[in-house]
Symmetry: C2
Subunit: 242 residues, 2 copies
């Protein structure tokens, strides 16, 4: 089974260079290992319309959408409202989450903390006993927090539901540069048009000049393409394979 995904990162702190986003690299690696194809990663500001437009487009285009950030108790946490707007839904205060917040904070359950009970109407709560707070799902959108430790915990708790058919990856490292091997890559793609073939030059590495990645969801296909390309490359050029 093939599955596509889009990731929407929400956060002025990333767009202003204060924080480096580690959530989308984490999600990307995890999704790839599950066989899911990430098609786009978009970082937008903490603004309702920006979030709504992004989420509405991604939700139509991709099988799975993940948002990161903007779900806390402060003024700049507008992801729930943005997702709701993108799906033409209202924001409601979810009774189950509200109950949990009131129980935990007792008389300290102020408006800010109760804001964390707000979700798009019709949202599904994914409850995991190991985590304090449910993960909110709305249509095909999984709404994750911006704090990396919590995002990673939450994703790990739900990752199995995203499994698709896996990618098979082979790698060739060459001493020859891209200008020398480009024609062999082109020839290989003529013979194996469905191959996912990446060519990544590395500067100043004493071991190799280019890393070639060959991928497919068909293991035999990638092995055949690998043999085809290795036969074209000069023996001296191939440093090693994986």
């Amino acid at each position: 089974m093939d599955r596509t995904a889009g990731i929407v990162v929400i956060g002025n702190e990333i767009l202003s260079g204060k924080v480096v986003d580690t959530n989308s690299p984490f999600l990307t690696r995890e999704l790839r290992s599950l066989g899911v194809t990430v098609r786009r990663i978009l970082t937008v500001p903490d603004e309702l319309d920006e979030i709504a437009v992004a989420v509405a487009e991604f939700q139509e285009r991709y099988d799975l959408v993940f948002t990161s950030g903007g779900v806390g108790p402060t003024h700049d946490d507008v992801t729930m409202e943005g997702v709701a707007r993108g799906l033409n839904r209202k924001v409601i205060r979810h009774p189950a989450i509200e109950g949990r917040i009131r129980e935990y904070f007792k008389e300290k359950a102020n408006e800010a903390r109760l804001k964390m009970a707000e979700v798009p109407e019709g949202a599904e709560l994914i409850v995991d006993g190991r985590l304090g707070f449910p993960t909110i799902k709305c249509e095909n959108i999984y709404i994750l927090p911006g704090i990396p430790e919590i995002l990673e915990q939450k994703f790990q708790a739900i990752r199995d539901r995203f499994a698709a058919s896996p990618y098979f990856l082979r790698v060739i490292y060459t001493k020859d540069g891209e200008g020398t091997i480009a024609e062999h890559l082109n020839t290989t793609l003529v013979a194996f048009p469905e191959l996912l073939l990446g060519s990544y030059p590395k500067i100043g590495d004493p071991e190799y000049a280019v890393k070639l990645t060959l991928e497919s969801k068909d293991e035999a296909y990638v092995e055949q393409a690998m043999a085809h390309l290795l036969a074209l490359l000069s023996r001296d050029s191939v440093v090693r394979t994986e």
Copy 2:
């Protein structure tokens, strides 16, 4: 002067989790320090239509657009063609770049290497004596390579042309969590509606629970807002300021 920017990162290697994008964090930090407001960062695959759509939209919406990646000699380097398509231009082989490639590679100037002379018709070459290869500019789009070392060199060579009026930043670290201080943030924003106010919780830090960032292009405004917010926060809660 205010200036907005959008960054388009082009690369299957990033979407498949093989490489972590360091180019957009670099550009974002640099642009912020120049006073430029980055509004969106979008990562797309090495596909013509994806690049064309992204570039066409960003070029309309933002004052400056930067692309990263997809400008080498191999089959997956389709940024020039993608940008050309997004701007409804043809791709041409630029005589000045072609001449430089033929001069450098002599009889080794094959089709793959000459592909690097292709640019959207009407593109401007920004030549810098310290760098071997010109930077390509097309409308308000600056086309940068994916290799971080080269992207950074190229950006440094042209960065002065992007200077806008600077942001002024103050920071407060608090021991109280977001749920406790949220009302003070809201009150401050009522008094200073133009303030850029960020609230960033940190988990497991013994020193502080929340980092607050106050920003504006008006230095007096951010100082007044800072004083206003500090007066609201409990004295015990403020760990330090910057």
